[in-house]
């Protein structure tokens, strides 16, 4: 299969003028943000990168590209708007919403996530940005026994009922689509990746798989799917370079049971009856053990598998890694650089 045959010719690539196009990456100090900056720095000729985060960056960027802004703080949108130079051709903001760690209680995390997104949208309004890319999560569909085998983008995101974090993501997605409705000229794209695995990206879900002992719900073995970080980055590059409006699931091919994933990672599973597991998760989060957010427990019981067909047909996104391979790549970490 050649690269040309996959791509639809009708989508237009933006013409680049002599002036630079600005790409603003929020939460740039997180692992996904760092990986994205790294890739954009390698791929961009006519691009100016701006990295935003409250924490110091992990990648080297040219002088002046990094701005230390806590997005959840008041007045951050003005600060955000002021760090964009005037001589640009267009502005793209990439906002990675899914938190890396849940180090505070989930309700506070929820408020913070929404505040961050609000600042980003306020800044976008002031800057008249050309494009907004939101990295959400396929978890927004929620893990329910009543889920169909494959969840498509047109189905409602019911995860808000399950977890404050997913509620935040659903709210943020809604804020972005509302923005798109109000500002027709802005291209708003939402990506919903399944659990991102690879050698670099780390978040609370990879932390869960990194434990030597994985707690599971007794009698339940949900199906899981993964996407490799390089596939995720390719999808991001695709939507940054071309104008694709709408929401897309970004997932790897194939699915596997959670127990099998644990076995492939050579982890020991400890099946616990659901009530005990719930209590254990709540106690663990109270004493500050970062095993997993207690509200994510349904994901250990029920299946939440997203369908990647829309991204395949409309974005031309074909994942290179299957779920199994993403998992193996995660297992062998440093190897597949």
């Amino acid at each position: 299969m050649s690269a040309q045959s996959r791509k639809k010719p009708k989508r237009k690539t933006r013409t680049r003028g002599s002036r630079e196009e600005v790409i603003l990456v929020t939460n740039a100090a997180r692992s996904l943000g760092s990986a994205l900056l790294d890739m954009l720095a390698r791929h961009g000729e006519h691009r100016q990168l701006i990295a935003i985060d409250g924490e110091p960056l992990r990648v080297d960027l040219p002088q002046g590209a990094y701005h230390r802004i806590y997005l959840s703080k008041k007045g951050s949108s003005r600060k955000l708007a002021s760090c964009v130079p005037h001589n640009h051709s267009s502005i793209t903001i990439v906002h990675t919403a899914l938190p890396e760690t849940i180090d505070i209680d989930e309700e506070t995390a929820r408020e913070r996530l929404i505040a961050e997104a609000k600042s980003v949208l306020d800044a976008a309004k002031q800057l008249h940005v050309h494009k907004l890319v939101l990295v959400s999560s396929a978890d927004v569909y929620g893990a329910f026994a009543t889920n169909p085998a494959y969840l498509t983008e047109d189905m409602s995101a019911r995860g808000a009922d399950q977890s404050p974090i997913l509620d935040a993501l659903c709210t943020i997605e809604k804020m972005f689509t509302d923005y798109a409705d109000k500002h027709r000229r802005t291209v708003v794209t939402t990506l919903r990746p399944s659990t991102i695995l690879g050698s670099r990206v780390r978040d609370f879900k990879t932390t869960f798989f990194d434990q030597s002992v994985i707690p599971t719900a007794m009698g339940f073995d949900p199906l899981v799917q993964f996407v490799h970080e390089s596939d995720m980055l390719r999808a991001l590059l695709e939507v940054i370079e071309k104008d694709d409006r709408g929401t897309y699931n970004i997932v790897g091919d194939n699915i596997l049971p959670l127990s099998r994933a644990a076995r492939m990672l050579a982890r020991t599973t400890v099946p616990l009856p659901t009530p005990i597991l719930t209590t254990a998760a709540q106690v663990a989060s109270k004493v500050g053990l970062e095993i997993m957010p207690a509200s994510y427990l349904p994901f250990l019981m029920h299946t939440c598998i997203a369908d990647g067909d829309k991204a395949r047909h409309e974005l031309g996104f074909v994942p290179v890694y299957t779920s199994h391979e993403a998992l193996l790549s995660f297992a062998t970490k440093g190897w597949n650089r």
Binding site: P148, G219, L328, W335
Partner: protein, 339 residues
């Protein structure tokens, strides 16, 4: 196809370059390799071994590690892949593990007799519509086996299962691994699109929980979801009658309140359960007969017909009376429940 077997190393080298640079066509090359490995695993493994040795000698450590990893991923398979699940969560390993138990039930315990085996679709998607009964859904598993045992290519149908099963620990997972799929339009459409044969009990829970005096009287065929499905997809419907299953657990009475307390839709009181304890869960050894009727074509219907409630109801009732007629005819001819 022929070209590849003569030039073994060509796709392999292409793969190496492709993965090393992670170019766009890596996926295509990988698929070629996988196909090749599938066709001739022994040769492929030997090739990987040689390549591995070569790499060790010539490549830099970092490159070697990267390529070794790619090689590992490709040779991952065979034994390993056996434990994988398909797109709907069915695991061949589980099916093969439980098959002997159900084959015993099929051949020796229920002594299943099959009529109309020629009506089982040879290939392509189809809907098998049957009467549901028996308190515990043995009829699903046994009908699946009836298709499997009587199809020249051992076709294994997928069966649609009510939501509640997925809330029950172990049960939901077991059902999924053995080929069950949650009953909803999206899943059923996708199964048929994948070319599967799908077993549906339109009576649903109301059918399984029939009491003994209501045996062989079909309950309402749901809201006709399966008819809508057949109309939209144009897939043929095979009306099926299952005889014998209605007597395996003669139910005297059921309690919804007790059932709700333990997380089940109802709690049955049969002639043996709960009086005999766990022994009461053993089904009675009735003689079964499964009759597959002539397939009903749905080619003349369109997706628009599926929107008309009247048409759906009409067709659903027609199919229901067809199944009921098959049952009634068989009941008349049957001498005994036991042999």
């Amino acid at each position: 196809m022929e070209q590849m077997s003569t030039g073994n190393d060509i796709p392999f080298l292409r793969l190496l370059t492709a993965i090393a640079e992670l170019k766009e066509h890596a996926k295509g090359a990988k698929r070629e390799i996988l196909e090749f490995a599938d066709r001739d695993p022994a040769k492929a493994r030997a090739l990987f071994k040689v390549a591995d040795a070569m790499l060790k000698q010539f490549a830099k450590t970092s490159v070697y590690k990267k390529l070794k990893y790619s090689l590992d991923m490709i040779s991952y398979g065979d034994e390993e892949r056996y434990y994988d699940v398909d797109a709907f969560g069915m695991s061949n390993a589980t099916v093969e593990a439980v098959m002997p138990i159900f084959q015993f039930l099929y051949h020796h315990y229920f002594r299943v007799e099959v009529e109309g085996a020629k009506n089982i679709a040879r290939n392509g998607p189809a809907l098998v519509i049957a009467n549901h009964s028996g308190v515990l859904p043995y009829d699903g598993a046994i009908t699946n086996l009836a298709v499997y045992n009587n199809h020249p290519k051992q076709r294994y149908p997928r069966y649609l299962v009510d939501d509640f099963a997925y809330y029950v620990p172990f049960v939901g997972t077991f059902i999924q691994r053995t080929g069950g799929v949650r009953a909803c339009q999206e899943n059923a459409t996708r199964l048929l699109d994948h070319g599967h044969m799908v077993l549906v009990f339109p009576e649903g829970l109301k059918g399984v929980s029939k009491s003994y005096d209501e045996r062989y009287q079909l309950r309402r065929f749901g809201r006709g979801g399966y008819v809508k499905l057949a109309m939209r997809t144009g897939v043929p419907v095979i009306p099926t009658a299952i005889m014998g299953a209605e007597e395996i657990h003669p139910m005297l009475w059921k309690s919804d309140v007790l059932g709700k307390a333990i997380g089940l839709p109802y709690f049955p009181f049969t002639v043996t359960f709960p009086w005999l304890g766990p022994l009461g869960m053993i089904p009675l050894p009735t003689k079964w007969k499964i009759i597959f009727g002539k397939p009903i074509s749905f080619k003349k219907f369109t997706a628009r017909d599926a929107k008309s409630e009247r048409k759906v109801k009409e067709v659903s009732q027609k199919i229901q009376s067809k199944v009921q007629a098959m049952i009634d005819k068989e009941l008349k001819n049957r001498d005994s429940v036991w042999y």
